[in-house]
């Protein structure tokens, strides 16, 4: 009987367990978690805070008890793995014990980065990643303890915390260290439009503000002091500057690690029988052919499924891994597809704007590089898949249905041409 261990039980861990159980009904599947709660979706935390969903809905696969029963798992709560011998497929625990397996999946996810700055641990300074983070913020907002807020980090999490504050009628300022919002995905022209929209909705935005430290005022308020000396004061400060992959326990294990664990298309690491999936790993980027973590829910789930199948003995591959960032907040949506860092001054730029869309897209002679679109949420799947096809084959044409759909949705012929299609009447 095959023995499988899953370390960490978020979306990737759950999908791996589900798929491994489908492929191998008799395998022993042990799941190790550093919590005693079931798999939840970090993306849903801010939706819980603003009341869009109840607490239970953050757990999209149901209760832990039900999952453990349905998938016939051995769940070890509050038992973090502290070390790994990948050659021996041996897990190590804090109490000195070990456990050996045939296959091991590392799906430990990522955690919110809290920089080691003075004042970062003051009451009222918070992060947003876990279900506990969400409960704490919602509690404070419901009690009326937050009358003003500062959000540090115009990231995909930061913008959702801003949305929570707006939903509660809390005046909010958004600051970021970069030159413009969504810096790693948005062209400056796109970001300026997003910033203008936010400001129109009452949110103050300040870019090029790098946090130095946080102070507590005599009245209990908090002041974020920037490296340039500028001061932002509020009742509460959200620090949303990114995530760190939970791979510290693998240091010196021999696994190949950049920021995350490097995996191939089967989610296998550089050791036979050791797999990684989700926010703790770096899979091959289809566009740039480099290892990269593209930390979205869909990827984590697909990667977990692929890892689970392969661990249980059925070959499966993870593909179509391109950088995609979708920001959907305050009735505004912006998508970026592709690696913006590959764009240069000599590239061809396509730009279009009407009352529905703003489009800015870049390509070189070698092919498509990056697309920004504001207002296209309904059509993003078609655009993304056209992008993937163009990346995989620079000469790929759009299929007829995609062309027809995009035209019906009001996209200009020039953009359809850009994506690889022909102009249509």
């Amino acid at each position: 009987m095959k023995k499988i261990a899953i370390i960490g039980f978020g979306g990737a861990g759950y999908q791996a367990a589900k798929e491994a159980r489908r492929v191998d009904p008799t395998a022993t599947i042990d799941v190790y978690s550093d919590t005693n709660i079931g798999p939840y979706n970090p993306m849903l935390t801010t939706y819980y805070v603003k009341g869009a969903i109840p607490y239970e809905a953050m757990f999209p696969f149901g209760s832990l008890e039900q999952i453990v029963r349905d998938l016939n798992l051995n769940f070890f709560a509050n038992k973090p793995v502290t070390g790994l011998d990948p050659a021996a497929k041996l897990l190590k625990f804090g109490d000195g014990t070990t456990a050996q397996y045939d296959k091991i999946l590392i799906s430990t996810g990522a955690c919110a980065v809290m920089p080691p700055l003075k004042g970062i641990d003051l009451p009222g300074v918070f992060k947003m990643r876990t279900a506990q983070d969400a409960v704490a913020l919602k509690d404070a907002l419901d009690k009326g303890e937050i009358k003003s807020a500062l959000v540090i980090g115009a990231s995909w999490v930061g913008i959702k915390v801003v949305e929570d504050m707006v939903a509660y009628g809390v005046p909010c300022t958004l600051v970021d260290g970069a030159k413009w919002m969504f810096y790693v995905a948005a062209f400056e022209e796109t970001a300026k439009r997003a910033q203008k929209d936010l400001e129109r909705k009452g949110v103050t935005v300040a870019c090029e503000q790098m946090l130095d430290h946080i102070e507590q005022e005599d009245n209990g308020q908090l002041t974020a002091v920037m490296q340039n000396g500028r001061r932002f004061t509020a009742d509460s400060i959200a620090v949303c500057i990114g995530v760190r992959m939970n791979v510290g326990f693998l240091k010196d294990s021999g696994l190949e690690i950049n920021r995350g664990i490097l995996v191939d298309e089967t989610m296998r690491t550089n050791y036979d029988g050791i797999y990684a999936a989700g926010d703790c790993c770096e899979a091959m980027d289809t566009q740039c052919k480099i290892h990269r973590n593209i930390g979205v829910w869909l990827n984590a789930n697909k990667q977990g499924k692929v890892a689970g199948a392969n661990m249980a003995g059925e070959h499966m591959e993870f593909d179509a891994n391109v950088l995609v960032n979708l920001a959907h907040y305050l009735d505004y949506d912006f998508i970026s597809i592709g690696d913006i860092s590959t764009c240069g001054p000599d590239d061809d730029v396509y730009e279009y704007e009407d009352e529905t869309y703003y489009i800015r897209a870049v390509r070189s002679a070698n092919g498509i590089k990056c697309i920004n679109v504001i207002g296209s949420a309904d059509s993003n799947g078609l655009i993304k898949n056209a992008f993937v096809k163009a990346v995989e084959n620079a000469d790929a044409d759009l299929d007829i249905q995609t062309r027809c759909f995009l035209q019906k949705k009001g996209f200009p012929d020039g953009f359809i041409d850009f994506l690889g299609g022909k102009s249509v009447d």
């Binding site: 993306m43 789930n301 309904d378 249509v424």
Partner: protein, 174 residues
């Protein structure tokens, strides 16, 4: 028994009767800003040889075998009906994040104007479970749109099953 929509483009005239059937069945309120789950397209596409290709298409959810929208939904609204094989939904916890739209290569998910929640073609799941045909199929006068069981589909030798289009469009490598 799994069901499959089959679309024969050669028989379609883009008359939009299928859309009418869909709107009637699903009480779609166009005036309120809702969109029909099924769409028709009537496009003339110039070809490289100077001729024109007339594209008559009726399209809705393809009910993909390995539907990416199911995996993409952060709250688990979407699922497969084990009886019919259709991609169905319970949007009680839908947060309107449009992750399903980003995963769908066919633009199938719609968003209800009144509350922003996702709605989509469910294959007229209840009708089919009770032995009826989907409303769009009933409305098609030309036999362009049909819905058959998987066994019937395999026996027909057809290659026009909507949920097999993913492979035809080369969106998957394997």
């Amino acid at each position: 028994m799994k069901h499959i929509f089959v679309f024969d483009q050669d028989k379609c005239s883009a008359c939009s009767a299928c859309m009418m059937g869909c709107m009637d069945q699903n009480d779609i309120d166009l005036a309120a800003g809702d969109q029909c789950y099924r769409q028709t397209f009537d496009n003339e596409i110039p070809l490289a040889d100077g001729s024109t290709y007339c594209a008559y298409i009726s399209a809705a959810c393809m009910h993909c075998t390995d539907a990416p929208c199911i995996t993409a939904c952060p709250v688990g609204c979407l699922s497969k009906d084990p009886e019919t094989g259709f991609t169905v939904y319970d949007n009680t916890n839908c947060i309107g994040c449009k992750s399903c739209a980003m995963a769908c290569p066919f633009g199938a998910p719609r968003y209800r104007a009144s509350d922003g929640k996702m709605v989509k073609c469910d294959g007229c799941n209840e009708r089919v479970k009770h032995g009826l045909q989907p409303a769009c199929v009933c409305a098609c006068s030309f036999g362009a749109l049909t819905c058959v069981t998987e066994d019937e589909y395999k026996a027909s030798g057809s290659s026009k099953g909507c949920n097999f289009l993913l492979e035809q469009l080369a969106l998957k490598k394997k």
